[in-house]
Subunit: 365 residues, 4 copies
C-alpha cells in the first residue's frame, strides 16, 4: 500500500492547481502551484467552497505581514482526496468541513481547552497565514484527525462553510461573555462576525439584543439573527442603549468592530458588574477610563476571544444546523466562481454596503 | 400615619374574602376568611389571576402534609392593596407579579444565591404551604421588597402568571444542567414544567431536544416549545434516544416527571461525562446503577433543582416576555372564574389529557 | 418593651461619643457627636476595635469627596448595644463583626450576588463614605440582619477585625481571577490588601506565587503569606517573571497597587488566555496595548473586583480563622488607643515602611 | 535513519524484560516478555519506579476482567529509551512521568476536556487494563506526545510517582466538588486517594476538613494532609459531622471509599444545595433517598470523577511539588525492589493497617 501511495504522490507532485496568493501589500494573484502531498498526520482536501474573511483583508492590506507567495484563506468545505498514513478516522471521498484554526491536540494549551494557542508548529491560525491556505483547488490540512469533520448528507456545503470561523467566533463572543437567560445584550458592529454574535446572544437566551452599526441595511439584516432593536452609530448611542435598559445598562456588551472608540462605548453601556466581550481585531491600543474600574462603579469583566476551532467545536455547530436552530444563509450575499476571486476581494475591500459574505465555488460537489 | 394605617387595618380586619382552603387529604373548600393585615416588611396584594400547580395537588392528596385550614396556592398576579411601613420600593395600586417561593434576602443562604433554602421564618416555598397562599382574593406577601416585581404595561397578567413557578423551575432545569450551545438534550415528562424545561433547553442553545411523554398530544405541544423529536414512553425509549444521537447519548437529560424509573432512563441516555438534571418531585428513592458511576463509564453529574424565586429572577423572566423571546400562552388550556376552582382541581386530579394549566380569574384587572 | 426602648433612646439621645471626622481635604478631627439611634432594621454597635484602610486615606486626601463632618472608617469589631425592633437574629451583648460594605439583601443586585452594587440607600460602601463610619465609640449598622456576624469565643477580636475588608477583597482577587490548582500567579503590590491577595492565591492552590513591591521588607512579609519569590519593582520585572515561568507567563496576575503602569506590566506577564485580576483603586485611565488583545496573542480576561461583603461572606472568612487556615496577625504592625487615631493616620499617610495595619482600641472588650 | 531505527528494533525484538502479569483471578506472575517496539506516535520508557493502585487489586481480584497475560500497572517514572518517529517533543534519555490514563488528544472527548473518555483505541485507562502496563522493566506509552512530561532535576522520581493517579484523582474530587474558600468539607475514606482528596480540599481553601476512616492510624496520617478533625467510622458519624458544623452540614462531601453505604452517609451530611463528589469505585448500586432530592430539602449536586490525565494535568501537579505546596512522601510507607512485587501485592491485598503506597524500584536512576 505504501508503494501505491508513494506513486500517487509522485503523480501529484506533477499535478498542478490554481491558488490565490499574496505577493506584497495590495498585490495578490491567482497562480499555479504544485498540489501538496500530505504528511503522515495530514490530509489533502479537494476544495469545493471557500470564502474570504476580514482577516484575509488585513493580510492583503499589510496589517498582518505574511510571506510573499503564500496561498490565502482559511475557510473550506471539500472532499478528502488523500489521507496521511496515520489518519484513521476518515475515508477518501468523504465530504468534510475544515477547521479555520488548526489545533494539534497534543500540546498543553490544546489539552487545556486553549486550542487557539496551540504550540504545534502549524497550530493556532495557520492556514493562509503561515502555511498555504484554503483559497486553492487543494488544501493540505495539518493534524487532520483534529481539524476535519465529516458533513452529514442533510447539510449543504454552503450551510456549513461559515461555521468554523464566522459562526464559531461570533457565538464565542456570547459564550465567553457569559450571556445568561434574560440578559440584555448590546452588540457593536454587524459585519458577518457581529451578526453571528447577535445570533449567539439569541442562542444563549438573551432578552433584548440591541445592535449598533453604521449601515441601516445591517440593522435590518440583524433582525433576522435575533436583534430586538437596531441603533445607527452616532454620538447618542450610549444614551439610547441606557434608555432601552431603563438606565440600568446591559448585562453584556459585545465588541465586534475592532475600534478602540467602540470598545469605550461598550464599557459605558454595561451595568455594574457587567461584561464586555471583545472579538474585534484591534489595531490600536484600548483605554479603560478610571471610573469604569473604580470602587463603586466597577466589578467589570473584559474578555477577548480568538476563534475556537477543532473537530469537537465544529461538531457542535453542525448539530445546530442539522436541528434547524440556525440558518446562516442570509449572510451569503454573493456567489462567484473561484476564478473571479480577485473581484470578490475587491468588493470586500471597497466595503460595498450590500456585501456580507461571498461564497467562492472552487469545484463541483 | 401609623394611626391612619391602624384604622385601615381595623377596617380590613372586618372585611372578609374568599379563600380556597385545604381541610384534610382529599377535602378542600372555598371558604370565607378575614383579609390579612401586612406587617412592616409585607404587602397585601389583591389577586387578579392565580393558578394551580402539581405541588398543590400533592398537598391535596396528602403527600405534602399541611395544616388544616390553610389557603392553597403560590402563583399570583395582582395589584398592591396595602404596603407595610418599611416597604419603600413599590406603590399601592401597582400591578405586580408575586414570587412563588419567598426569600428574605437576609439569611446566609439568600445571600449566597440559595434563596430556595431561605432560613427566614417564611422563606423557601411557604405560600400555600406554611402560610396562607394565593388562591384567595387577597394575598399577604412576606418580605415584600424581595418577592414582588412590578409588571410593565406591555405584558398581560396572564402572560406573566406562569413565570415565577412553571417557567422558573423549567428553565432552571436547563440552566443547572449546564446546557451549552449545540448540546443534544432529552427531556422526560412534558407536563407544564417539563414543557418549560424544553423551552429552557432551546433558550440555552440546545441542538436536538428529544422529549418523552406518555401522551402524544403533549409531544405535539412540545414542538411549540422547541422539541425537535417526540418519543412516546415505552420500553424502547432509551434505544431510540441513543439512535437519534448516533449512539453517543445526549449531553444533558432532564427529569421532569418525578419517577425513579424515569430517572434511571435518564442516567442511561447521557453520554460519558454527561449530566442528569432533575426537577421532578420524587416520592420514592432513586437508584444509580454501579456501572453509571464506575471507572470507564462515569464522570457524570446529577443535579436537583428547586424553584429559583425572588425579584431578580422574576425580572429576568419578564424581560424574556417583553422581548418576545418566550410565549407561554400554549400552556394555558383553560380559563375559569375563581368560584369554579374546585372544578379546576378536579380536572387536574383526573389528569385530563387536554388540561395543562388552568388560569383562575379572581378579580377584574 | 417599646416603651423601654424609647426611653433608652431618649437617654442615648443625650449621650455623646468620640468620633473621628473628616472636615476638609487634609483636615480631620476627633470630635464629640451624639450617639445615634438605630432604626427598625438597624443595630447600634459599641466599637471595640477599628482600623484605617487605604480608601480612608483617599477620602482624607480628597480623592473621594465626602461631606464635611462625616465620621470615617468601615472596619469594626464590637458588641451589640441596641437592636432595631425588626432585627431578630442577634442579641444585645453579642460580640460581632461588621461588614465593611453594606448590603440590603433586598434589591436585584444583592439578590444576584452583586451586593457590592446594592441599590439600597445605604448599600455598597457606605460606612464612612455616605453615612457615619466605624472610627467612633458607637456605630449604627444599616440592614443589621445582613451586615453583622457573631464572633465565636475562640476567635479574638483582633483576629477578626481585618476579615471584612482587607482579607475579603484580597482573597476575592484570587477567586475572581479564577486561580486553579497548580497555577502560577503574580501579585503586584504587597500592601495589606496585596498581602491578602497573595494569601488568597495560596488558599486557592497556586503553585508559584511571585510578588512584586518596591519595599524589600514587604517581600519578606509576603513569604509569610505564601509568596514563593519576591521581586523588587524595577524595569526588569516583566523579564524576571517570564523567566521564573520558563517563558510561559503566569496564569493569573493580580493588580493590587492601583497604578496604570502596574496594570500594564500585569498584562505583559500573563500567558495566552491568562487573566489579570484588579483590586487596586485606579485614579487614572488604563491602557491595553493592541497586541494584548489581538489575534494570536489574546484570549485574555481582565476583571475588577470590589469588596464582597455581608454576613455569608464574613461567615466563610471566620471559618478560615477558626480552622487555623489563615492567620492575619503579621498584618498588624501597630496597636494604638483610639485617642491616638490622628497619629495613626499620619503614620499611614507618610507611608512608613514598617507600617502595614494599625489596630485602634476604642473600648475594652 | 529509518534503517537504523529498524535495526535497533530488530535487536530489541530479541531483548527480553521482566513483567508482572495477570494470569487469572487471584493468579499473577513475574514473567519474561519481549521488550515492545514503539509505533510512530509512541515512546518506550525504561521504568525506574512503579507502584500498585486499588484498581490493580480489583483486576487481580477479578472485579475488572482483563486478558490473561496482560502486564499490570499504570504508574511509572522512567527514562525515555526510544521515541516513535513522529514524536518530536522529547529526547531519548529524558526522565519522564507517565500519565496513568492515556489520551489521544485527537478525538472529540479529548478536545472537549474529557480525556478520561478518550475514544482513541488506547485512550482512557488503558495501561495495565487493555494494553501492557507499567509493572515491567519497559513500558510502551501510546500517544507519547500527550502522555509524558519531563521531570525537572529538582524533583525526585519518588516525589513525582504518585502524581498522575493518586494525587490527580484525589485533587479532582475537591475540584469537581467545587470546594470554595471557607467551605466545610467531609472526606469519607482515607486510603491513598482519600488522603489526596483531603489534601485537595486544603489546596482549594477549605476551612474544616472532617475525615472519616475505620483506622485511627489513617486519621492520624490525614492530619498531615490538612484534616482538621478525624472521625472513626461508626453509627454516629452523621450526627458527629452535623454537630461539628453546628447543624448546618458540610458544603461538600467527598466519597473516596466506594461503598454505597458511605455514599448514603455523604448525602446525609451535606447542607441544602451542597455537593457530593465521588471518586470511589462503586461495585454495587447507589441509592438516593427521596427526601434528599425533594422540594425543600434538595438542590443537591452529585458528581463522579475519573482520573484526569495527560501532560497539561501532570505539569500542574509537578508545579505544586516544585513550589513545595505539596509533599506526598507520607503516602509512601514501603519501598521494595521490583522482584518483590508479589509480596507488595500480598501486603495490599491483606489490607495491612500500616501500608498505604508501596514504591517498587524497577531500575537504578
Amino acid at each position: 500500500m505504501a508503494v501505491g501511495k508513494e506513486s500517487k504522490h509522485a503523480m501529484q507532485s506533477g499535478r498542478m492547481m490554481q491558488s490565490y496568493v499574496f505577493l506584497s501589500p495590495g498585490v495578490t494573484s491567482l497562480e499555479t502551484k504544485r498540489i501538496p502531498t500530505p504528511g503522515p498526520l495530514e490530509a489533502l482536501v479537494k476544495v469545493e467552497l471557500t470564502s474570504i474573511s476580514a482577516n484575509d483583508l488585513n493580510i492583503v492590506r499589510g496589517v498582518f505581514p505574511v510571506t510573499s507567495g503564500l496561498t490565502l484563506g482559511h475557510e473550506a468545505v471539500g472532499v478528502i482526496e488523500e489521507l496521511g498514513e496515520l489518519v484513521s478516522e476518515y475515508e477518501v471521498g468523504q465530504r468534510v468541513l475544515v477547521s479555520a484554526t488548526s489545533s494539534c491536540g497534543q500540546c498543553s494549551p490544546c489539552l487545556s481547552g486553549n486550542g487557539a494557542h496551540c504550540r504545534g508548529m502549524l497550530g493556532g491560525w495557520r492556514l493562509g497565514r503561515t502555511t498555504d491556505g484554503a483559497q486553492a483547488e487543494f488544501l493540505r490540512v495539518p493534524y487532520a484527525e483534529v481539524n476535519l469533520t465529516p458533513l452529514p448528507d442533510s447539510i449543504s456545503s454552503e450551510a456549513a462553510l461559515l461555521l468554523p470561523e464566522t459562526a464559531s467566533i461570533g457565538f464565542a463572543a456570547a459564550e465567553r461573555g457569559g450571556v445568561e437567560l434574560g440578559d440584555n445584550v448590546a452588540v457593536f458592529g454587524q459585519g458577518a462576525v457581529g451578526l453571528c454574535a447577535t445570533l449567539g446572544a439569541k442562542l444563549r437566551g438573551a432578552a433584548q439584543i440591541i445592535v449598533v452599526d453604521k449601515l441601516s441595511s445591517r440593522l435590518d439584516l440583524a433582525s433576522k439573527f435575533g436583534a430586538t432593536t437596531g441603533i445607527l452609530s452616532g454620538p447618542s448611542l450610549v444614551k439610547q442603549i441606557l434608555k432601552l435598559t431603563r438606565g440600568a445598562g446591559v448585562d453584556v456588551a459585545i465588541e465586534a468592530h475592532g475600534e478602540p472608540r467602540t470598545f469605550e462605548s461598550a464599557m459605558k453601556v454595561i451595568r455594574p458588574a457587567g461584561t464586555v466581550s471583545c472579538i474585534g481585531v484591534f489595531t490600536s491600543a484600548l483605554t479603560i477610563a478610571e471610573q469604569s474600574f473604580n470602587s463603586g462603579l466597577g466589578n467589570h469583566t473584559v474578555v477577548n476571544t480568538l476563534c475556537p476551532g477543532g473537530k469537537a467545536r465544529m461538531e457542535r455547530l453542525i448539530r445546530l444546523v442539522e436541528s434547524k436552530r440556525i440558518d446562516l444563509a442570509p449572510l451569503v450575499t454573493h456567489r462567484l466562481p473561484f476564478n473571479e476571486i480577485a473581484s470578490a476581494y475587491e468588493m470586500l475591500m471597497e466595503g460595498q454596503e450590500d456585501v456580507v459574505k461571498i461564497v467562492l465555488q472552487v469545484s463541483e460537489p
